[in-house]
């Protein structure tokens, strides 16, 4: 049984119509590639905050952060607190992001080219796009599962529904690029926020704070409130998340894209500072929904898949009328993430991976055509890879591996590029290789029967920490091994 009625459907329909109109209407302002990719660098603070918040909160985020609440209690919000602290500190100090924005580049690999050369730029682009696209591959199906569970859609319509949704997003993203993304993100931020706040207040009033805390205490004891004493978390979990989330704040291209689209560096830093606390909300609010599901649902109802606990809970807890707002909010969250991510990975493909093929300067018209085609192809890839061809195996391990390959190497390269004069292409190349080998190697160890126990003893957190530290070491050692320009003849000095 669910509470999704025709009234709720009309709320959702109205929201979708408004989004499409807004997204398509701004296409007439797109005159060149810079407008298309980074809104001509005209984005101001409040639009930036809305866009960044909307982009970084999708249905998948809601599902796994709620799952964290269900499985770890309040301690499950730890990654959000760490991200908020990291983003605020980066916004205050300008660490890495100031040199990045001052360089007036469109993508991170473009900055790397200035220090490390064309090959490193190309390799970085490949790492970023692979990590990003593989990460994004699960969004559609997971989002569709949420809608099916909460709204009671027939599961046989899941693929069609999500395909229509993605096509809608693709239309305005292809036509209007970053301008459409920003405007629709803004609208989606308002709808998404309204839904999140209203449902949270409903849950807090229905379930009650005492019930939430007593449920967590009963299931997880003190560990449900303190990650350092939780048996499945502890300091390795916290330290790994410090590395992971700092790296994401510095180099996750969809986040950085807002910085690069800002009208100037101080505006970009204000966007970071202004948005930082949102990342606490990003984990804690759905986390509370997850804890409420833990309090309200029996294990038999939840079944073996704790990822579905929160949507199952919401399907019966949220009344009609409010259900429409919730569904619209979650669709808004998904659309803003999909549009931003498609544009972002498309921009790296165009700006960095295709850079070697742009031997002569392309006209703006040609550039726009290529960007639009790339986004269309990304949409096709997502439909087949992530929706119509269901992935098999342990998805979250797979995502963890691809995410760490991206974040470990790119963050090390960015820090070295920004602050260490001795950093060079040898160090950068070594960092990219080590950043790929360790997580992949750990994945292999986990799969092989002969090494499975050893991998379990090491655990994903120590493996992740080792990846960051060893990638940093590779950058240092590789750079020091290359003769410095003063040690070779002036004729042989090259970038």
């Amino acid at each position: 049984m669910n509470n999704f009625t025709w009234f709720d459907g009309s709320i959702v329909g109205l929201y979708l119509l408004a989004t499409m109109i807004a997204g398509i209407a701004v296409r007439k302002y797109v005159g060149n590639v810079e407008h298309f990719l980074i809104a001509g660098r005209e984005m101001n603070v409040y639009l930036g905050i809305a866009s960044l918040a909307a982009t970084e909160f999708g249905v998948v985020t809601c599902m796994y952060t709620a799952q964290n609440g269900y499985e770890f209690g309040f301690a499950g919000a730890t990654p959000g607190i760490i991200t908020a602290a990291a983003m605020y500190l980066v916004g205050v100090t300008g660490f890495c992001v100031k040199p990045l924005r001052d360089a007036r580049v469109i993508t991170i690999p473009e900055l790397f080219q200035k220090r490390f050369g064309d090959r490193i730029r190309w390799a970085s682009g490949v790492v970023i796009v692979l990590g990003g696209l593989l990460n994004m591959g699960v969004f559609l199906r997971t989002g569709g599962e949420f809608l099916v569970l909460v709204a009671g859609f027939d599961i046989k319509y899941l693929e069609i529904t999500m395909s229509v949704l993605l096509l809608s997003v693709a239309v305005y993203t292809i036509l209007g690029g970053m301008l459409s993304v920003l405007v629709t993100d803004f609208l989606q931020f308002v709808v998404m926020s309204a839904g999140l706040i209203i449902v949270t207040i409903l849950i807090l009033s229905q379930v009650g704070w005492s019930t939430l805390t007593s449920t967590v205490t009963a299931h997880y004891g003190a560990g449900g409130f303190n990650p350092f004493v939780h048996p499945k978390m502890g300091w390795p979990y916290v330290l790994f998340n410090v590395f992971l989330n700092l790296a994401a704040v510095l180099t996750w291209q969809t986040t950085i894209a807002r910085l690069l689209a800002a009208k100037d560096t101080p505006t970009g830093l204000k966007v970071y500072k202004g948005t930082s606390f949102f990342f606490v909300c990003r984990f804690l609010i759905p986390g509370i929904w997850g804890i409420a599901a833990l309090a309200a649902l029996s294990p038999a109802v939840v079944g073996g898949n704790t990822l579905q606990a929160m949507p199952k809970f919401l399907s019966t807890a949220v009344p009609s009328g409010l259900m429409g707002i919730l569904i619209a909010a979650m669709i808004a969250a998904d659309m803003s993430t999909d549009s931003s991510y498609m544009l972002t990975w498309g921009s790296v493909i165009y700006n960095d991976i295709l850079a070697p093929f742009r031997k002569t300067r392309w006209s703006e018209r040609r550039g726009l055509r290529w960007n639009r085609s790339i986004i269309a192809l990304i949409g096709v890839f997502l439909l087949f890879y992530g929706l119509w061809y269901p992935l098999k195996g342990d998805l979250w391990t797979y995502l963890g591996v691809t995410g760490t390959i991206y974040l470990s190497s790119m963050s090390v390269l960015l820090i070295a590029c920004s602050y260490w004069k001795r950093a060079n292409s040898w160090g950068a190349g070594a960092a990219i290789i080590v950043g790929a080998i360790i997580p992949t190697g750990f994945l292999v160890l986990e799969q092989l029967p002969s090494t499975r126990e050893a991998a379990a003893a090491i655990g994903p957190y120590f493996s992740g920490i080792a990846t960051y530290l060893l990638t940093g070491a590779a950058m240092v050692i590789g750079s020091l091994l290359k003769p410095s320009p003063s040690e070779i003849s002036p004729e042989r000095v090259s970038r």
Binding site: I49, F186, A194, L196, W209, F225
Partner: protein
């Protein structure tokens, strides 16, 4: 209730901050959108898509 005051405080802060920011950003963001589109339109009137291409990466 006071035993877990940190999480209670954080939860209240989330709801209050998020509600306030949503309204504030909604109002200010509308203005930002208008200014952004005006500036882009003004800049576009100076040139066109067929102009000699500038630095594609700048």
């Amino acid at each position: 209730m006071m035993e877990h005051w940190f999480w209670l405080l954080l939860t209240v802060a989330c709801v209050v901050w998020y509600s306030s920011v949503t309204i504030y950003v909604a109002v200010k963001g509308m203005r930002d959108i208008r200014t952004m589109l005006e500036n882009i339109a003004a800049g576009s009137r100076v040139g066109s898509a067929d102009d000699p291409p500038g630095d594609q990466s700048a």
